[in-house]
C-alpha cells in the first residue's frame, strides 16, 4: 500500500481512548470489558447524538473502562491482539453530501472534526461556514508536517476531496509558506499560507483570518492533518490507519526523534528506555498546553503530536486558577505578542478575569479555545490560568448560544 512511512515504528500492546479528548460527549459503551473488538469497529457512541461513533484504532480485547467523577469516562483501554481481524469498511455510497457524511460517521472519523466556537464535535445535522484543514505545525519540536503528508500524499488528497463534499462551505487548507500540500485541484479546496511565530499553527489564528465568528450562530469546522490522512486511509484502504506520527522531545529524552506509534498508545510503554536515568520526568503536552500528562491512565491523546518530557521543575499546577494569589495584571506590550493575533490581549484577559462574558465575546473569545491563550498564561505575571477562565466563559456562552 502507499504511504509506508520512513519513520521508526513503535508497536504498543496497550492503547486507550481518552474521554477528555472529546469535550461535552456523554459516552455510551457499545462493548463490554473482555469483549474482543476488531479494528475500526465502533466501541462507543455519543449518547445524545447516537450517530457519532468512536471506533477502536486497533484490534484487541477491551481490558478496562476507567471512570472518574460522576461516572464520566476517563479512558477505555484495549489490549492489542494482532490475531483479531480488521473490519473492512464499505466505500461511500455516492458522491453526495449525505453519503459522505454517513461514511465519516460510520468510520468514526467524524469524531476528529472540531467546531469553533467551543471546540466540540460538530453536530452531523448542521452546516459549517467553512472547513479548515490544519496542515501547519508551529509548536517548537513538533513533528514536521511536510514528510508526513508527502508519505501519505494519496490518502491526504482523497480526504481533501471528501472533506470538500461534506458541506457546501469552502474548504481551506492552512499551510506553512514553505510547504504547500498536494491535493486534487478538482476538489475546490483553497490554500492559505500562514506565518507568524508560535500562533501560526493554531486553528484559532486561521479562523480569525479566514472566517471570524460572531454571534450569528455560524460554526467553523477544523481537522488536523494527521486526522485527514486517517480519513483518507479509511477511504482508500477500507481500514483504519494504525499509526500516528509523534515527536519525542524535551531535555529528559535520550534520543529526540519522530516515531510512528499506534493511536492512543500507552505512554509508559512508549517511553520505556527513552528517558535519562535519575531525572524525575514529567510529561507536558507540548509547549502550548503544558498540562502534566503523567497522571494515570496515561495514553497518547487523540490530537497529541508532541511528547515532550522534561525534568521536574516547579510548574504551576494546571488546575490552579490562583484565586488566592491572583496578583495584578501588568498590561505590558509583551502580552500583545503572546496573545491571539487580531485580538486585543489585555482587554480580553481582563474580561476573562472578571468573567465578563459579553465583553469577552465581543473581543473574539468565540474564536478561541484553551490552546490559544496558553501563551498568555505564561507571559502574564498575575498567575492566572487563562485557559480555565476562557473555558468558564465559553461554557456560559455555549449554554446561551
Amino acid at each position: 500500500m502507499s504511504g509506508s512511512s520512513n519513520f521508526e515504528t513503535r508497536e504498543s500492546s496497550q492503547l486507550g481512548m481518552l474521554g477528555r479528548d472529546y469535550r461535552g460527549v456523554h459516552f455510551e459503551l457499545l462493548c463490554d470489558t473482555g469483549d474482543r473488538v476488531r479494528a475500526g469497529v465502533a466501541v462507543m457512541r455519543d449518547a445524545r447524538r447516537p450517530d457519532i461513533l468512536f471506533t477502536a484504532p486497533a484490534a484487541g480485547r477491551v481490558a478496562r473502562v476507567v471512570r472518574g467523577a460522576r461516572r464520566k469516562l476517563v479512558a477505555l483501554q484495549i489490549e492489542v491482539d494482532a490475531s483479531c481481524e480488521v473490519a473492512e469498511l464499505a466505500a461511500p455510497a455516492g458522491q453526495d453530501q449525505a453519503a459522505q457524511r454517513a461514511f465519516m460517521l460510520a468510520s468514526g472519523s467524524w469524531a476528529s472534526l472540531r467546531t469553533r466556537p467551543f471546540g466540540n464535535i460538530p453536530d452531523p445535522a448542521t452546516q459549517p461556514a467553512a472547513v479548515l484543514i490544519t496542515a501547519i505545525e508551529s509548536e517548537p519540536m513538533a513533528p514536521p508536517v511536510a514528510p508526513v503528508i508527502d508519505a501519505f500524499a494519496a490518502e491526504f488528497s482523497a480526504a481533501v476531496t471528501m472533506l470538500a463534499r461534506i458541506s457546501s462551505a469552502p474548504l481551506f487548507i492552512c499551510h506553512a509558506p514553505e510547504y504547500r500540500p498536494a491535493f486534487d485541484a478538482a476538489s475546490g479546496a483553497r490554500c492559505k499560507a500562514f506565518t507568524g511565530g508560535a500562533a501560526a499553527g493554531l486553528p484559532g489564528r486561521h479562523i480569525q483570518a479566514l472566517c471570524p465568528i460572531g454571534l450569528a450562530g455560524a460554526e467553523v469546522w477544523h481537522i488536523g492533518y494527521q486526522e485527514t490522512i486517517a480519513l483518507g486511509h479509511l477511504l482508500l484502504h477500507g481500514r483504519p490507519w494504525a499509526q500516528r506520527i509523534v515527536a519525542l522531545a524535551g531535555d529528559a529524552v535520550l534520543r529526540p526523534r519522530c516515531l510512528a506509534v499506534t493511536p492512543g498508545a500507552a505512554l509508559g510503554e512508549l517511553l520505556e528506555g527513552e528517558l535519562q536515568d535519575g531525572s524525575q520526568p514529567i510529561l507536558v503536552g507540548g509547549n502550548l498546553d503544558r498540562q502534566p500528562l503523567a497522571t494515570e491512565p496515561a495514553f497518547l491523546g487523540a490530537s497529541q503530536r508532541l511528547l515532550k518530557v522534561i525534568r521536574a521543575v516547579a510548574e504551576p499546577a494546571a488546575d490552579d486558577i490562583g484565586a488566592l494569589d491572583m496578583g495584578a495584571l501588568i498590561p505590558g506590550d509583551w502580552l500583545e505578542a503572546n496573545g491571539p493575533p487580531g485580538i486585543y490581549a489585555v482587554p480580553l484577559m481582563r474580561a476573562l478575569q472578571l468573567g465578563d462574558v459579553e465583553r469577552a465575546r465581543e473581543l473574539g473569545a468565540l474564536e478561541l479555545v484553551e490552546e490559544d491563550v496558553a501563551a498568555l498564561s505564561r507571559a502574564c505575571v498575575s498567575n492566572s490560568n487563562y485557559g480555565l477562565l476562557l473555558r468558564q466563559v465559553l461554557d456560559q456562552l455555549e449554554s446561551s448560544y
Partner: protein, 364 residues
C-alpha cells in the same frame, strides 16, 4: 537572570523581575542626581552670599568633609549623598510605613513596589525639598496612588506621579534660601524653559546652560531629570527587556518633533516660546524623564497598541501646547502626564469599541 523570561513560575516572580529592571534602569539617573546636586550646590553657593549652611543637609555635607574651596568629584558626591540620601530614606520610611499598614489591613504580605515609588518620587523633587513636603507627597502616593486601589499594579495612575502632583499643587510657591533651589520654579521643576522664554539662548548661556551640559545633566533641575544621557541609558534597558512599550515611547518623541514643527511652522517667530527648537524641549525640563519612567509605566498607560500611539501623541501635543502658550507653567510635564494617565482608560475604551465594531462587520 534579568534577561531570561521567567514570568510567573513562582508567585509574583514576574512582578519582581519587572521591579528589578525598573530599579536598575533608574541607576544611571540616580548617579547623575548624586553628582549633579553636589555640583549645583557649589555653583549656587557662590550666588547666595547670605547662605550660612546651617541646615541639616549642609551640616551632613560638612560632616562628610566636603571641601567648598576647590571641589572635586568626592566633594560633589559627598554633598549629593548628604542631600539625596536623607530624602530617599525619609521617602522609603514613609512609603514602607503606609505599605505596612495597608498590607496589615488587607491581610497580605508587603509588596516591594513602594521602593520604586519612593525612588521615582525623590528623583522628581528639587535637591533641597522640605522634609514635611516629602512626608506629605509620599503619603499621598502610597495611600491614594495605590493603597486604596488594592496594591501595586491595580491602580490606574503612577503613584509617584500622583505624589509629585499633590506636592506641586499644594506648595506652588515653595522655595527656600538654599543653593539647590537656584534655577528652580518651585516644585514644578527647572525654570530653564522660562529662562529661554524670556531671553532665548543668550539667557541660557548666561545661566551657564549649553547643549552639552544639558545633555550630560550639569544643569539645575529636579534631581533625576537633568541628564538626557542617563535617561537614555535607562530607556535602552527598559526597551531591551520589553518592560516598556516602544510604541508609546516612540509616539511621545515623534509627537514632540511633530508638534514643535507645527508650532514653528504656523506660530509667531518673534516669540521665544514658539521658536524654541526641539532639542531644547528635550534637554530642558522633565519631558524625557517623564516620557521614559512615568508615562511608559505599563500599569498606568493604555493597553492596546493604537491606544499607546494615541496616548503618546496626546502627551507630546499637550506638553508642547502648554509650554508654548502658558508662560506660567514652563515645564508642564507633570500635569500633562497626570491628565493623560486619567485619559488612558478612555482611550482604550474608544479603541476597543472601534475594534468591536470592526469585528462585528466581518463576522459570519
Amino acid at each position: 537572570m534579568l534577561f531570561e523570561v521567567d514570568h510567573g513560575n513562582a508567585p509574583g516572580g514576574g512582578r519582581r523581575r519587572i521591579l528589578r529592571i525598573q530599579l536598575l534602569a533608574l541607576l544611571p539617573v540616580t548617579l547623575v542626581a548624586l553628582v549633579n546636586s553636589g555640583y549645583q550646590y557649589f555653583q549656587g553657593m557662590a550666588l547666595l552670599p547670605g547662605f550660612d549652611g546651617s541646615d541639616l543637609r549642609s551640616r551632613l555635607a560638612d560632616f562628610l568633609s566636603a571641601n567648598p574651596e576647590a571641589p572635586g568629584l568626592y566633594d560633589y558626591l559627598a554633598v549629593g549623598v548628604a542631600h539625596v540620601l536623607p530624602m530617599l530614606l525619609l521617602a522609603l520610611l514613609v512609603g514602607g510605613f503606609w505599605e505596612r499598614i495597608i498590607a496589615d489591613r488587607r491581610g497580605r504580605p508587603m509588596e516591594p513596589g513602594f521602593l520604586l515609588v519612593a525612588l521615582l518620587f525623590v528623583l522628581l523633587l528639587p535637591g533641597a525639598a522640605a522634609f514635611g513636603h516629602i512626608i506629605f507627597g509620599m503619603s499621598c502616593a502610597i495611600i491614594l496612588g495605590q493603597g486604596i486601589f488594592g496594591g501595586e499594579g491595580k491602580s490606574f495612575i503612577n503613584p509617584a506621579l500622583l505624589g509629585i502632583a499633590m506636592v506641586q499643587v499644594s506648595y506652588p510657591a515653595a522655595s527656600a534660601l538654599h543653593p539647590l533651589w537656584n534655577g528652580m520654579a518651585g516644585y514644578a521643576g527647572s525654570d530653564a524653559i522660562a529662562l529661554y522664554h524670556r531671553g532665548g539662548e543668550q539667557a541660557l548661556a548666561q545661566a551657564g546652560i549649553d547643549t552639552w551640559s544639558a545633555f550630560i545633566g550639569a544643569i539645575p533641575g529636579t534631581l533625576g531629570t537633568t541628564s538626557l544621557l542617563a535617561i537614555a541609558l535607562g530607556a535602552v534597558l527598559l526597551l531591551v527587556t520589553r518592560v516598556i512599550s516602544w510604541r508609546l515611547l516612540a509616539a511621545q518623541f515623534i509627537g514632540l518633533l511633530l508638534f514643535v514643527w507645527l508650532v514653528a511652522a504656523f506660530g509667531d517667530y518673534s516669540s521665544n516660546p514658539q521658536a524654541m527648537p526641539v532639542h531644547w524641549h528635550l534637554l530642558l525640563g522633565s519631558f524625557a524623564f517623564g516620557a521614559v519612567f512615568i508615562a511608559c509605566d505599563p500599569v498606568a498607560s493604555a493597553c492596546t497598541n493604537p491606544g499607546r500611539w494615541i496616548q503618546g501623541f496626546l502627551i507630546a501635543g499637550l506638553v508642547v501646547l502648554i509650554r508654548v502658550a502658558n508662560s506660567t507653567h514652563p515645564d508642564a510635564v507633570i500635569p500633562v502626564l497626570l491628565l493623560v494617565s486619567l485619559l488612558a482608560p478612555l482611550i482604550d475604551h474608544a479603541v476597543i469599541a472601534w475594534n468591536i465594531r470592526q469585528r462585528a462587520r466581518r463576522h459570519v
